[in-house]
């Protein structure tokens, strides 16, 4: 069952293609991270999913509903928090939560109390007087207290100190048992900690989307040492990214790692190797390799 699905989704702002024929899906129960550099189209995609923007072409569905029809009651099961969302500044935190309660039939007062305690929210403080981190925590508490089926977060950790990030992250993980989480971020280290799925968006195009475990298994930094300098063949396998050779050392990133196959390929291209190391990569290094590489990953 897919929680979010898009087909050939395109969004144009004048001549700029913010999204360009996006086919993408988020399975139910996943913690899906959408990563990519600034201006990649992450926020645009989320705003289309939340029916804040209309797609230029293509379709998108959220919890089985056409995103263009997402409004009113449909938001009873979607918790959305964005870094630049405008909360009513004049409301006190307690009044804000109290105001939202009747909108949600599934609002859980006990959970609300837990979240307030966990986030240490000052209920009598006006939202406009809260720090950025506190405001995010208040927004997240209001988006989690009704036990949504889908939690959508747009850059939730942006500009927050590590302590607040940690608190938000752990609160999200607690909800992950009963909800699908879809969050965008350009902080890869943060996402790596708890995302089960990851997608990489760049210039409006989806460069990659898969489970974290398969991604980690697929990418390796390869370093080969030879006894003497070797000649580099004219053609190399498409899955070798960022290939570099200096003296008797060759380095590249393999995006389809299989040790047996790789050793055979190395032997076929360069002959005997003195030593070969295959280092697992962090999400950050994987995406840096992808971003820097002009070749499309397999």
């Amino acid at each position: 069952m897919l929680c979010i699905q898009t087909q050939a989704l395109t969004k144009r702002f004048g001549r700029v293609h913010a999204l360009d024929g996006l086919d993408f899906s988020v399975p139910q129960g996943a913690i899906q991270a959408l990563v990519g550099p600034n201006g990649a189209g992450k926020t645009t995609l989320i705003k289309i999913l939340m029916n804040i923007f209309r797609a230029s072409t293509g379709t998108a569905s959220v919890l089985g509903v056409d995103s263009r029809k997402i409004s009113g009651k449909a938001f009873s099961s979607i918790g959305y928090v964005s870094e630049n969302q405008h909360l009513p500044p004049w409301m006190r935190v307690g009044a804000f939560l109290e105001y939202l309660r009747p909108f949600y039939p599934t609002w859980d007062m006990q959970l609300e109390a837990q979240l307030v305690q966990k986030f240490d929210l000052p209920l009598d403080r006006k939202l406009k007087h809260l720090s950025r981190g506190m405001r995010m925590k208040a927004a997240l508490a209001s988006a989690l207290a009704f036990r949504p089926k889908l939690i959508v977060l747009d850059e939730p950790f942006s500009g927050l100190d590590p302590m607040v990030r940690d608190e938000l992250g752990s609160a999200l993980l607690e909800r992950a048992k009963e909800a699908t989480i879809f969050l965008s971020s350009h902080d890869l280290a943060e996402v790596e900690g708890f995302a089960t799925h990851v997608a990489f968006l760049d210039s409006g195009r989806l460069r990659l989307a898969e489970e974290m475990s398969s991604l980690s298994a697929r990418f390796r930094e390869v370093e080969l040492a030879f006894d003497a300098p070797v000649a580099v063949p004219a053609t190399l396998p498409a899955n070798w990214l960022q290939f570099s050779a200096s003296d008797s050392t060759i380095r590249f990133v393999d995006d389809a790692f299989n040790e047996e196959t790789l050793r055979a390929e190395i032997s076929g291209h360069f002959g005997p190797v003195r030593s070969a190391t295959f280092t697992p990569m962090t999400l950050r290094t994987i995406f840096l390799a992808l971003a820097k590489s002009s070749r499309k990953p397999s």
Partner: protein, 587 residues
């Protein structure tokens, strides 16, 4: 329903300062209004100045309240928290409308009912009229403000949008001067009103359902362009001809208009040019015959067409006129303006002229005679008046609407009424002093106060009927009041033949040839000659009054406070906020 009330309660909690401000202004208006009926002055100049702005402040406070409450859940932008919450847009809109209903309509409605009660008008029978006024206010003030609030994201942006709309209105009004016919027919105005209303409703619905601010702003822009197009392209001549058709046997022209070639303004006198304008005002004399006693008509508009010596045609287009003509009148001077430069080019040439008149015909109906006695006079049609002896007029009040059509003629008594500051040496025309308000419209006036104030002032034409002067109403004046009934509208076409326009340009001093016979002061001229005002003041002992308080003393010779006190036979008056005891000397 619960969501509507929930949002409403939140809005009340948030916007209580704005609510209190608008209610305070409304209460101040309700307290202030009765004072304006009696014309009592306010000693404190600053307070008096401030109270003059009260209606404008009320409108501003309501506008502010509506904009603020709508923008509590702003419809412009993509960062509002409520957009991704389970708000149902019809309920959100209804919550806002409930707020506006309670704190604008209901508050104003209660204030209006209380004013009606204070002014001793029937409250229950006025409710349908009040509901009509509120439906108009909802369709204009509320809807326009709501639409404006929907396409702006803050008070600053709303003010800017208001400025754009205001400038557009000024632009349209300026352009409408180029199309004088547009004032005559109601059809174009009705189309514009319908268009504006439709656009406002469309903008509100589009914004609440789709939040497409750009689309909504384009709709507003398109509406402004459409209004301009309607104004420019409307077939005014056709519409006016349809509204005022040619005479038929069942709907004849009620009088015969004959152009009076014998009258003109004296050549050699200084023409009466308006030094500040670029137009001249021409006057054409007509003789009127055949008007029955039961008929009264209004010249709603007129048009002058010329065939110039060069063969080219010229038209003044239809111009509003609003002159009422009743039995006894023998002349009508129709006014038309034209550009001074054009006039100077053709003023002495012989031009073939044609005048078209648009008339509304009324039947006078049964009349009621009332004699002005004391301070308070009741007028048929549900109005009552105060006899304002200082101005020699009746200052009248009615509920929701001035009684109209209304026609009053007076046979003025030879009493203190004859005292007037105006003297004359001209004969009066045969028609008695009269006052007429002719209107086909019977709908209540869309104003905040349910008490309509109007003045009944009599006037009478001089013998050439080109000028009329006000005549006094006072204790003992007999007024014959009728409420005419609208019968039909009709158009009359009159050929003037070949004329020189210069002959019809008024002179200063105003001198008509053949000249009028000067009248000796004090000489009666006809059966209603009591209206005649002697040139010299009456002789006899002067009437003086003296008011004293705490040893201080003020005196007056029938002037100012003393005169008003005398008219009301008062022995105690308020001068500069303090009560003074008075005594009278003389007779």
């Amino acid at each position: 329903m619960s969501q509507i009330l929930h949002i409403f309660r939140k809005d009340v909690r948030h916007h209580w300062p704005e609510i209190l401000l608008s209610l305070a202004l409304l209460i101040a208006y309700a307290v202030e209004q009765p004072r304006t009926w009696t014309g009592q002055p306010i000693e404190n100049r600053f307070l008096s100045f401030l109270l003059g702005f009260l209606p404008a402040l009320m409108v501003l406070s309501w506008g502010f309240l509506i904009v603020r409450v709508v923008q509590g859940e702003t419809l412009v932008g993509d960062r509002q928290f409520w957009v991704t919450r389970p708000y149902e847009w019809p309920k959100l809109l209804l919550a806002k409308l409930l707020f506006i209903f309670l704190f604008f309509h209901l508050a104003l409605f209660i204030m209006q009912l209380s004013l009606l009660k204070v002014a001793r008008f029937p409250v229950m029978s006025s409710i349908p009229g009040l509901l009509y006024i509120h439906s108009l206010l909802a369709a204009t003030l509320v809807l326009a403000t709501l639409a404006l609030a929907c396409i702006s994201s803050g008070i600053g942006q709303a003010s800017l949008s208001l400025l754009v709309v205001f400038l557009s209105i000024i632009g349209i009004a300026f352009l409408s001067d180029l199309f004088p016919d547009s004032d005559i027919t109601n059809n174009v105005g009705a189309i514009d009103a319908l268009l504006i209303m439709t656009v406002c409703i469309a903008v509100v619905l589009v914004q609440y359902k789709y939040r497409k601010a750009l689309l909504s702003r384009l709709i507003v822009g398109a509406a402004i362009v459409l209004i301009l197009l309607v104004m420019v392209l409307a077939p005014y001549e056709k519409l006016i001809r349809h509204e005022f058709p040619s005479a038929t046997s069942s709907h004849p022209v009620p009088v015969k208009f004959t152009f009076d070639h014998s009258l003109s303004f004296a050549h050699g006198e200084k023409p009466k040019f308006n030094p500040f304008g670029d137009e001249v005002d021409l006057e054409f004399p007509f003789q009127i015959t055949g008007l029955s006693d039961e008929t009264i008509f209004q010249i709603r508009a007129m048009k002058l067409d010329l065939d110039l010596p060069t063969g080219e045609p010229w038209t003044s287009h239809w111009r509003g006129f609003y002159d009422s003509v009743s039995a006894g009148r023998t002349r009508e001077w129709t006014h038309i303006s034209m550009k001074k430069a054009f006039f100077n080019r053709i003023k002495d040439a012989s031009v073939k002229a044609h005048i078209s008149l648009a008339l509304n015909v009324f039947r006078t109906g049964p009349a009621t005679e009332i004699v002005v006695a004391g301070d308070r006079v009741s007028i048929p049609g549900g109005a009552w008046c105060l006899n304002d002896s200082s101005e020699n007029v009746l200052k009248c009040f009615s509920a929701l609407k001035q009684p109209s059509p209304m026609f009053i003629v007076a046979d003025l008594p030879n009493s203190s009424c004859a005292l007037s500051r105006t003297s004359t040496v001209q004969k009066f025309a045969a028609a008695p002093a009269s006052f007429a308000v002719l209107s086909k419209d019977s709908d209540p006036d869309s104003t905040f106060s349910p008490i309509q104030q109007f003045t009944i002032a009599l006037s009478r034409h001089y013998s050439f009927e080109d000028l009329q002067i006000p005549l006094p109403i006072c204790v003992g004046t007999r007024l014959v009041v009728s409420q005419p009934r609208f019968l039909y509208a009709v158009r009359d076409e009159i050929d003037l033949g070949n004329i020189a326009l210069m002959n019809y340009l008024p002179t200063y001093p105003r001198l008509i040839i053949p000249p009028q016979q000067p009248l000796q002061p004090g000489t009666p001229t006809d059966s209603l000659s009591q209206n005649f005002v002697p040139a010299t003041p009456p002789s006899g002992p002067a009437l003086t009054c003296t008011f004293a308080r705490d040893g201080a003393r003020v005196s007056g010779r029938l002037a100012g406070v003393a005169r008003r006190a005398f008219a009301r036979r008062r022995k105690r008056v308020r001068i500069r906020g303090r009560m003074w005891d008075g005594s009278w000397n003389g007779s």
